[in-house]
Symmetry: C2
Subunit: 324 residues, 2 copies
């Protein structure tokens, strides 16, 4: 491995899956846990993967990590060469407390999160030169304490952050990171421009995360109905227009059809936002919907359907948790 030590901040469906894969490939991985801490310290971490039924030390199958470096307090963790942030973005306000103990002078921080504008907090803490974004195209769910079910996909797009919103290119550290993930059995795409990658991820997340909650629908139901298919397309159109107006990123319209086709071939599943909503957790409404909406407005672009799904989700989010 190019980097020997990894910290996973937030050991859920994403952090648990990729952390386990990295440990299985030989990295020293340190997991920060909250509600699952006791269970994982006692029983380890269990990842049921789509690729097979084997349990122990099988790269293509399920992963049992009986020996897990599990921590309840970030202060007890060692500083690591790479810090993977896999919290929900709704908890990014905790980063000023969570990051300093686990970073050292040259640590890389990789935000395995969706949404726009989420790197700024981390960049303010560790400096903008060592921040990366990771876009996870994966169907993975935490089904019980320390128990993750990896249903489909799994690839990650990695890109380096820049403070001035330019493309960072395929830097050396980015390539080293990518190689480590590949050695862990993860399909990796290196992107020279983080913002393009983030907007492209929004093209899928905005319609399918949003409508899955508002319409209580799985991916196959949405892609199988002409009305939700049309809505997904028009929402995607607004995201493309916003990427162009806000950050001058041109995503071709053929990308919309690619996303629709990919969704047609997915195993039917509940989006992560729908799972959050059903579990009574806060939804990532601001990172995925609020940030692009605000930026589009500031750029003078009307995005009426993005605004509508944003407000519908805000209503639902606030009704569930009136005190936030």
């Amino acid at each position: 491995m190019n980097y020997q030590s990894y910290a996973v901040i937030g050991t859920g469906a994403i952090g648990g899956l990729y952390g386990a894969k990295l440990q299985q490939a030989g990295a020293e991985v340190h997991f920060l846990l909250h509600s699952d801490f006791d269970h994982v310290r006692a029983h380890g971490l269990r990842v049921e993967s789509k690729d097979g039924d084997l349990r122990v030390e099988s790269k293509d199958g399920d992963i049992d990590l009986p020996q897990v470096n599990a921590y309840y307090r970030v202060e007890d963790m060692p500083a690591c060469e790479v810090v993977l942030v896999a919290l929900k973005t709704t908890q990014n306000h905790l980063l000023p407390e969570l990051l300093p103990p686990v970073v050292k002078r040259d640590s890389l921080v990789v935000l395995l999160q969706n949404g726009l504008g989420i790197e700024d907090t981390a960049a303010a803490i560790v400096g903008s030169e060592r921040i990366f974004g990771g876009l996870c195209f994966v169907c993975s769910t935490k089904v019980g304490p320390g128990h993750i079910c990896h249903l489909d996909y799994g690839q990650i797009t990695l890109a380096q952050y820049t403070a001035d919103q330019t493309a960072a290119g395929l830097t050396g550290p980015l390539q080293c990171l990518g190689t480590d993930f590949e050695r862990a059995g993860v399909a990796v795409t290196l992107a020279d421009d983080l913002l393009t990658a983030r907007w492209k991820k929004l093209v899928w997340n905005v319609p399918f995360n949003g409508l899955s909650v508002v319409l209580n629908a799985k991916t196959d139901e949405m892609i199988g109905n002409q009305h939700t298919c049309t809505l997904a397309t028009t929402l995607m159109d607004e995201v493309l227009a916003a990427a162009k107006a806000v950050h001058q990123r041109h995503i071709p319209r053929t990308f919309i059809q690619e996303m629709l086709d990919a969704t047609k071939h997915m195993k039917p599943y509940h989006t992560s936002m729908k799972l959050d909503y059903d579990a009574g957790r806060r939804m990532e409404v601001e990172a995925i919907f609020g940030a692009p909406l605000t930026l589009a407005r500031q750029a003078g672009l009307a995005v009426p359907q993005l605004e509508m799904i944003y407000r519908q989700l805000k209503f639902l989010d606030e009704r569930e948790r009136p005190n936030i």
Copy 2:
């Protein structure tokens, strides 16, 4: 009464309420029933009204009609001077069978329904000179067989239809109709222009019927949240723009604030569309959303939020009843 005999086609929350009031005021009323026929023939019709607790012959209170002219087959009904159509618009395709037996040469047909373009079917059957629209501003619910609960409001706006979409004015028959409803204790507004009245009704129905279903929300929840309030306003703006583009009807923007204020002062309730959805009945998506959307598009006007709520409702409607 100016008209002695009334037929009520569709004895639900609307037809039952106004039919009972007219009968109580002295008209001869004939009720067409379907699922409630046996119950109403045996037990009569019961209307619990907001205005008081009295049961028998009280104009301001509850109404018991032990003697009801109830029919299961329209062929058994006498032709009447006035026919009140109080079906859901989703059943208007039945009018070619339902209307002919109950109309005579000079009968008036009053469509007590929401939506746009709903008079055309009736006009084709009885001629366009005798068609009226009735917009009911009422919170009324059928709570059991032959048992209607009138919770709030009750006023009706009546206007005469014209084939060429011009304002009919306050015609003689319109005034006679209005007087009959007033004698039955109903607050009546006579409108000289049916299309303006229909678009104004849509200003409320589009946001509140639509969002109540999609967000599973009562009126007080929607009006009490800043995001749904903003959404209601922008949807209303689109309806105003459509009224202007499609039919050159100018509804002032102050009307939006009037509707929001009125909603604030309503008793919290589930909209009729939400009740339909929860009961597994077809929703009036086409009359209330599809018709103005299609007309706006034909007029070259973009109404992206109206289109979005339309498609969300279509998805929900089709999922509940995949075979329609």
